[in-house]
Structures are given as C-alpha cells and as structure tokens.
Amino acid sequence: MKSWQTSCIPSNKKYVQICTALAALVLAVALLNLCLGAQKVPLGQVLQALVGEGSGTTAFRIVRYVRLPRLCACLLAGGALAASGAIIQGVLSNALAAPSTIGVNAGAGLMVALCCAAAPTALQLVPLAAMAGAFLGVMTVMLIARRTGASKITLVLAGVAVSSIFSAGIDAVVTFVPEALNGYSDFRIGGFSGVSMARILPAFLPAVLSFVLSLLLHNEMDVLLLGTEQARSLGLPAEKLRIALLGLAAVLAGAAVSVGGLVGFVGLIVPHIMRSLVGEESGPLLVSSALGGAALLGVCDLLGRMLFAPYEIPVGIVMSLAGCPFFIWLLQRRGRLRD
C-alpha cells in the first residue's frame, strides 16, 4: 500500500489553475534571475535585450551572454530532473526513488567525466554520454534490486551503493585527467556558472522530446501504477513499458547533468510536493513537476547568486540546504505512517 502519498485529488479545473500559477511563477523567477545579480539590470533593459535591441551596451551583454544562458540551463535542469523524478517514482512505485538517489545522476556524471577526459573538444557528445550513463545507472540498480529481492528499500540501498561506485569512478577520472572537468567542484555540487548556449542546445532537444514522449504515455503510466501484475492482466506489456519509461527518465536526467552537474534533491522533492497538489494521475503530475522543478531551481540559483554577493555559492549547495530537511521529514513521515 502506498500510504505515503497524500490523497488529494482535485478536479481538472484545479489542475489547470495550479499549472497556470506554476507557469506564472516560472516566468517571475526567470525575470528576477535576469534582472538581479552583481549588476542590477532594470526590467525595461532586460526586455529590450531579450528582443535583440541595444546590442553593444553592457546590459545587453550581461543579459544575453551571461544571465540568459544560465537561466535557460537552470530551468532546463530543474524541469528535467523533476519530471525524471516523477517518472522514476511512479514507474518503480517508490517514494524514495529519484535521479539522485538511485544512481542515475552519478552514472551520468561518470560518463560525462569519461567523455570529457577522452574527447575534451567534443562538447556536443557530452549530453549523449550523460544520457547513456544515466540509463546505465538506472538499469544497474534495477538489476541488482531484482536479484537481491524486490523490496522497495533494497532498490534505494542498491542505488546508494551504485552511486558511490560511480562517484569513485568520477574521482578516479579527475585524478588521472585533472583538466577533464573544468570547474570540478561546481560539477560535483551542481552549478550553472559559465554555462553557454552551445552547451545547452544539444541537451535541450532530447530533453523536450523525451518529456513529450513520456506525456504521450501518461495513460500507460497510470495503469502501471496499479502494480505489474494488475497492469499486465489489463493488457499492458508492463516490463517493456517500464524500461522504456526509465529510458525516457534517464534522457531527462542526463540532459540535466550535462548542463548543470550533479544537482540533488530536485527530482526527489518536487514530485512529492506536486503529488499533494494535483494528485497522482501521470499527465498532470508530469506537467506540474516540470514547471515546479524549473521554478524551484530558478529560485535556488537566484539565492545562490544573491545571498553572499559578490560571492556566488553553487546552486547545489542551496538546493541541498533546502532539500535535505525535506528528505528527513519525508522519512520521518513514512516511519510514522507505518507504525
């Protein structure tokens, strides 16, 4: 029984309202991110720069070449990680599963490190490597969990073990090829400083494609939530679908890792918050998670840039500060529900 879920199931109308509100929030966060920073840019100039006017001014350069790429990377990573988390939690019917807890992020990170060490100039290969690594991670964890017993906690423990092996792999790569990951600490913690549009685009397209594909499968996902056997007895090829959906989740997580490094917690907490707002039907949950993840990571990046300005702290640190207490609260609540 999945008693950890909040059983609030609002109507379609409420879902549309929530998504509109979330979209407005994303827009507001985006504008704030563009305006605020070490050098404040007035909203008017930001909008001018966005439509391409006033090229050559400092404001234009700041907005177009520094803040806009960073903002795009941030929204992309947040949305992709949260959507990936929503898919993973649903498909594995496990509240503690998320890209950062079951080895998906770490797998992607290892492949990125290897890719950068082997082919430092092939930037467009990075997202592909990340997605392959993410898929490798999730499949390894699934296989180990299945071999050792299918309990939900086994899966998470297997994830912890696999994650630490992958992390050791990343460290090993960096030890041998120190210049492989430029800004290594930023990558480990998760951060967006110095990101460029050229790095975002190859990650953006697969992420959007895989998000759309997973939305197209939302009815199948709903049936899968009934449990493997029940789903199969309803005529759904459950195992194939599960692997396909985990593949889509891996593409999303890989895209996020390739632009922002190993950001934790977004993929874990956002789907939980959204589930309590819009219920568990996959379509609404995916859309609201993507929006909520983008907004949350946007806010965290803004805080990271503003709190100790002119010093910046990577978004991953802010995210962990906010996410860790939530994770503990989740564990505690599960414990209480079980008693």
Binding site: S7, L226, G227, E229, L234, G235, E280, E281
Partner: protein
C-alpha cells in the same frame, strides 16, 4: 472457456504445479482450495499468462495462450490480484482503467467506456464512491472498487485471488453474491478462498490442490463426500442441515476422533 491441460509450473528448480488439468466453465463459480503454498495463486497467474510454465497447454476458447497478445488475453480474462497498489486517483479513474485493453493508442477513454465503468461501479455496489479518492476508502470499499475495475473489463472469465481476505463478514458475503450473479449471467468466476465453509456453501465447483497436485474436482457435495478436504487440510469437515441448506464447519481431527 479457459482450459488447462497437464499444466506443469516451476521456478527456481522447484516444481510448484504438476500435471494439472482443469477447466473453468462459464456459468459456474469455481473455487480453488488448498493449504498455504499449494500453488493456488500460481495456478491463477499461469492461467493468465503472468507466469511462465514448464509444460502443458492453456487454451482460451480452444486457442493456445501463447498465440494471443497480452491485450487479447485481457479482453477474455480479468484478474483481481491479492496484493495491490493503491494509487492516489479517483475511484472513477481507477475503474476506467478496466477498459484499457479495449483502447487503441492514444488511449482516450470513450463515452462507452465511461458508461461501462458506471455500470460496473453499480454492479459492484460502489456507485456512491465514484468521486472519492481510492486511498481514503476502507478495505471493503477498495475491494469493491477493484471488483468494479475487473467488471469493467467485461471478460468471460474473472479470476479473483483471495477476494475475501481482510474483509468483514458482510463484505465477504457481498463478494460471493456478486460472484453468483456473474455466474448466473454466464460468466466463469474463479476464486481462491481460505474459508472452507464459505466455499462449500457458495461454490458450484471446488478444485482441491495440495503440494502442487490437483487432488479432486467436483461439486461441494462430491468433494465433501470424498473426504479429500479432511486429508489435505488435516481437519475434519462436518455439516449440519439448516433452514437455508447445509452448513459446513471444521474441527480438529483429534477431537473428532475422540467423539466418534
């Protein structure tokens, strides 16, 4: 009709079912009986194609199961699993999933599916629950919702694995009443039950399993007379005549010997 012929199932080097031949005729309530671990659930899952088999045939209206797609099977047989996930969705949405095998991509539920779901909810006595979240319901109510989902699937055969476990006595009787009505409409209803007296009173046919072998198939009268239940369960099954027919009960073997 679903027929099993010389079915042998095993996993992990252990044989769970050996040479079982059994048919589930329409219009009858067939109850599978047997001690824990005798292979009742395995039999059901194998008949539905959810578990692989080592030998034997499974025929759906004369067609071998392997030649049917998962969806075709789902249009012929519905399954009420023993352990269930309870997703946080509304009852109506949940029951609509019973229509899933009838939908082509993109699987938008049609007006007729909504109608079938509404009818199934009424049949299962859960029409008043339609807009409630499944997670808020009691065990008995959830059982009705799962039953409604299986009914919405509109199949000739309905398999239910321990549908009365964890239910209070009124809900147990309701499940049996729905089974009876479905059988009267020409469906084949197959149940796993642990309550011998309930099974003997309500079933049309009993199939007694132990250690993976089908010991006896017959009407309650035949199975009671054969004494197979006594041997398989290690109890003494007795009955008394009441105004509403025979009432069956079980006693420990030892005490019954003393009284004889």
């Amino acid at each position: 009709m679903i027929e099993l012929k010389n079915l042998t199932v095993g996993y992990g080097g252990k044989t769970v079912l050996r040479d079982v031949s059994l048919a589930f005729p329409p219009g009858k309530v067939t109850v599978l009986l047997g001690p824990n671990g005798c292979g009742k659930s395995t039999l059901m899952k194998t008949a539905l194609g959810l578990l692989p088999r080592q030998g034997g045939e499974i025929l759906y209206d004369g067609v071998e199961l392997d030649r049917l797609t998962t969806r075709q099977v789902a249009c012929k047989a519905a399954y009420l699993a023993q352990s269930r996930e309870i997703p946080s969705i509304t009852v109506r949405r949940m029951v609509l999933h019973g229509r899933f095998p009838y939908l082509d991509y993109p699987r938008r539920y049609r007006a007729e599916d909504y109608a079938a779901a509404a009818k199934a909810l009424e049949w299962a006595g859960a029409a008043d629950l339609a807009d409630r979240p499944v997670q808020e319901l009691s065990g008995g109510q959830r059982q009705k919702v799962y039953l409604a989902m299986a009914l919405a699937q509109d199949t000739e055969t309905l398999f239910m694995d321990e549908p009365t476990t964890y239910l209070d006595v009124r809900h147990q009787l309701e499940v049996m009443a729905v089974s009876r009505r479905l059988a009267d409409m020409g469906r084949a209803v197959v149940l796993v039950l642990h309550d011998l007296s309930l099974a003997l009173r309500e079933a049309d046919r009993l199939a007694v399993l132990s250690d993976g072998v089908l010991r006896q198939v017959g009407t309650p009268e035949e199975v009671f007379g054969g004494g197979e239940l006594d041997r398989v369960f290690g109890v003494a099954v007795r009955r008394v005549r009441t105004e509403s027919g025979w009432l069956y009960y079980c006693r420990e073997t030892q005490t019954s010997k003393e009284t004889e």
